[in-house]
Amino acid sequence: MRMPAPSDGDPAIEAAGITKRFGGSGASAGAVDAVHDLTLSVLRGERLAFIGPNGAGKSTSIKILTGILHPTSGTARVLGLVPWQQRRALAARTGTLFGQRSQLWFELSPRQSLRMLGAIYGMDRDRELRRVAELGDLLDAGDLFDQPVRDLSLGQRMRCELAACLLHDPEILFLDEPTIGLDLLAKRRFRELLVTLNEASGTTVFLTSHDVADIEHVAQRVVVISAGRLIYDDSVPAMRRTMLSTKLVDVGLERAGAPLDLDGVTVLASDQTSAQLSVDTSRTSIREVLGRVLDTWSVSDISVVDPPLEQVIAEIYAERRP
């Protein structure tokens, strides 16, 4: 296992002016730029969230960076290799997990799939067995490896998928919407695993998602892409200060209560049985808002959620407007 080397200045991924056009050549009618002029550098050991709404170009970008797709224009090097020219050499050093595509063989158990993958990656049997045992411990998945894949829950299967990605100890982990469809507990566990893995072995994590919580709990840096264009690139703490300071509070009411008067709190909707509040946490903390709500109103249920990604992106555009 490699030693951790987070952000030591050595780029794992460098892309310059990447454009991928579908549906025609040149500027012909019907041609669409799924990715437009993407320039990006990711350091070794960095945990990057590459986020955007559905259709933003996240998956296309990951497919270009892993060599599945040729860009229409632009250049890229991943671990010093040109992905679409040296795809198989790159595959030996990276792991890729598509949340909506399995790399396990459904008719086999995960352990049998790992045996196949170990051979495909050219691992000798001893190294493969050692690595499978390590991953079973790390992902708490050892007891899942002998069950038929079709009997696993989605969360359990994703842990086995992650084991399949990590088997050959990749230097970069590309994760395309890995938390999609997982329940809250499974999502939290999966995010913790990614951080643990990054901290233990220095694996670069390139995570695409349209879930704001993935950014806050996994990434050190966030890149936002919308309509194929990069619109935001900053550290997560900086984004948290600016874009993620708003939280939504959903309150179930036993009966309607008096209006709240708190700085930074806006009532988005309310009726006799529920209310939704928008809280600017840079002005009033969530703890203070929850305390006031519980003291003032007769509450049957309460939850705090992140604003949808679309709202965050709208805020980014609003910030940039002169």
Partner: protein
Amino acid sequence: MSVPLLRRLAVPADVSGRRVLASRDGLVVALLFYLLVSGILSALWRAAAGEHGDVAGYSAVALTWYVFTAEAATCAINVRMIEEVGDDIGSGAVAVEMLRPLPVVAVRLAAEVGRCSARLGILLLPGATFAWIVAGPPPSTAATALALPALVLAVAANLCLQHALAGAAFWLRDTRAMWFLYQKLVFILGGMLLPLEVLPGVLRDVAMALPFMTMAYAPARLASGHVEPWLLLVQAGWLVVLAAGAGAVFSAGQRRLQVVGG
């Protein structure tokens, strides 16, 4: 990463083969189907030959061994393979396989060779026993010895051609029509239903010149008592051509996928 390529490919073959042996339900159905079809076809051919007569130089005994061998060579293979591989390509599932350090088609072929070899092994013993009971021992021990490697080559050639054709899914939306046509070609021109010598002159020459003859006719001709080692050479030659063809189609298809998406 110094493990030799063949050893790397042997594992998918081994794991897939063991998986087949573990799935008893599927095996029982395949075996029953094989024995039923072979039993009916061989009875028809024996009736056509008569007790002491022959059909195109094949005696009743030879025809029985021909049918059981030709059917084993084709029943060992998943009949819907072109369709299934085509679906994996059309749905984009193959993209995951492109993110591995070995060629997609090599890994798929290795796994299928393992699967089909296991199935072939399961079919052969009861099939040979059945043929022996209804027709007597195989006409020639030497020819039978040649038929065994010929069966493996037949399965491998069949798999390669099916993958080459399934690779059309990189360009076409639907490969079902191709699967339908392919099946019929193997039935007739491959010698699965009838020895190629039964076909009329030109058609027989065409069939002998096509790769389908390696997939059922070649091992069946040997098992029916004809000591003709050149058939193995023809099979090996076609296998090289078909494997290269499957590799070329997948390479071109993946390049197309890389350029235009899919």
